[in-house]
Amino acid sequence: MFDSYQSNTLHYDREKCINCGMCSIVCPHAVFAPGDEVAKLVDPISCMECGACQMNCPTGAITVESGVGCAYAMFYAAITGKEEPTCDTGGDPCC
């Protein structure tokens, strides 16, 4: 109850990991840690789905559905039934 953050879309495929260590470097919540042979997924619940690990994984071992996470945008999408917009960069930045 009252915890909507118990699961997320982070997925890690150990088979594809080449142990380059990038995921442990870029993650700001220490979700990944360096391992002896492959990276270790140590704290998946702390993942905020920023997508940095997926972006910097050279073998595509990590996938995560990242988004801007702007609640206004999601409210708007929920009410109008339109697709969730990403913040537009032309006008006033939203966050």
């Binding site: 009252f2 990038m22 470097i25 789905e49 940095a52 910097n56 801007v68 609640a71 960069t89 930045p93």
Partner: protein, 335 residues
């Protein structure tokens, strides 16, 4: 193509310093209050701090004044280059999320500035939070430059440069009281004009208590919520907001109930019910939106929160407004 003259201009390198002037500090203050929100920009391109040589480090940042200034003021006495990407005046973290602080812009900016001919090492130090938009191996493939992710905070750079490695603490984001407090002025500036109008309407329709209630519910969400965030019970921002809004509404419930002690009991109860229905959803809505300002809430979680709490907020608020309208009609018809 005869007659075309090709001119090779030397790449432009702008000088900069680590000192922040008074007018720059004033500019930071205005940016925090959302004044000229998207106008706090630095010209993208290459900057020289001190007297850099081809061996000097290259730091990469966004063209938002607060980002550029945080970087240069954190590394006084270090001769280096600063490569400023065109992020449309948005900070590193948000621009990376949108992709403007990204692989494409970085590769493009390296090429425009002729960086390969200026430094010998071909290594770039990026802020860690830029990793959301930048793919290090892609940059290497497309430009030959190796991306090195520095610490999350520019203030850790001097320590980082000693060993060229970040401690686990430097790699973690935190959300301290100070970091939370600087966020509310921009939100306050945004809602203040609307709040004044709504409070004025409520004052005329229902009286000073309703006007004060609106202000209290909004200010609780904008000012108190960021301050109290870690201390409010439950994990969801909406439930935290409902709790805070409920506590804020309590004095208004009592005051409304005590308003006319000679009135019928049902009328006094309805008066007391109005603030507890209207105020908490307002505070909770603002609290939920604060997820966008944090660096730890996942999109999946926020979406789940909206799915669970948005209907509760909408129904409570609508019911409360209906009660307020009924109470206003009763008052105007002489009850």
């Amino acid at each position: 193509m005869s007659g075309t003259i090709f001119t090779f201009t030397k790449p432009k390198i702008r000088p900069t310093t680590s000192q922040l002037t008074l007018s720059e500090r004033v500019d930071h203050f205005l940016a925090r209050w959302g004044i000229n929100r998207s106008g706090h920009r630095v010209e993208p391109g290459l900057y020289a701090l001190g007297s850099p040589t081809p061996e000097s480090p290259v730091f990469v940042t966004a063209n938002y004044t607060l980002s550029f200034d945080a970087l240069r003021s954190s590394i006084p006495g270090i001769d280096c280059y600063i490569l400023v990407l065109d992020t449309k005046g948005v900070n590193v973290w948000c621009a990376a999320g949108k992709g403007t602080f990204g692989t494409g812009e970085l590769v493009n900016r390296i090429s425009i500035t002729g960086l390969a001919g200026i430094v010998s090492h071909h290594v770039l130090i990026l802020p860690q939070l830029g990793a959301t938009g930048v793919s290090a191996h892609e940059v290497k493939k497309r430009s030959g430059f190796r991306v090195e992710y520095g610490p999350v905070r520019a203030s850790d750079l001097p320590e980082y440069l000693k060993t060229r490695s970040a401690t686990p603490g430097m790699r973690r984001v935190h959300f301290t009281l100070g970091e939370r407090i600087v966020l509310f002025p921009v939100e306050l500036a945004k809602v203040l004009p609307y709040l004044v109008i709504i409070s004025a309407v409520l004052y005329l329709a229902s009286g000073p208590l309703a006007a004060a209630g609106a202000a209290a519910a909004v200010l609780a969400g904008i000012v108190l919520f960021p301050i109290l965030l870690p201390y409010l019970p439950t994990k969801d921002f909406s439930s935290k907001g409902f709790i805070l809004g409920g506590l804020t509404a309590l004095p208004f419930v009592l005051a409304a109930y005590q308003y006319g002690t000679d009135d019928a009991m049902w009328l006094r109860l309805v008066r007391g019910l109005a603030p507890i229905l209207v105020m908490p959803p307002v505070t909770a809505f603002i609290s939920l939106n604060f997820t966008g300002s944090t660096t730890f809430t996942s999109v999946t979680g926020v979406r789940r929160e909206i799915f669970i709490y948005a209907p509760v907020m909408a129904w409570m608020f609508a019911l409360g407004i209906v009660l307020l309208i009924i109470l206003t009609i009763l008052r105007l018809t002489g009850w």
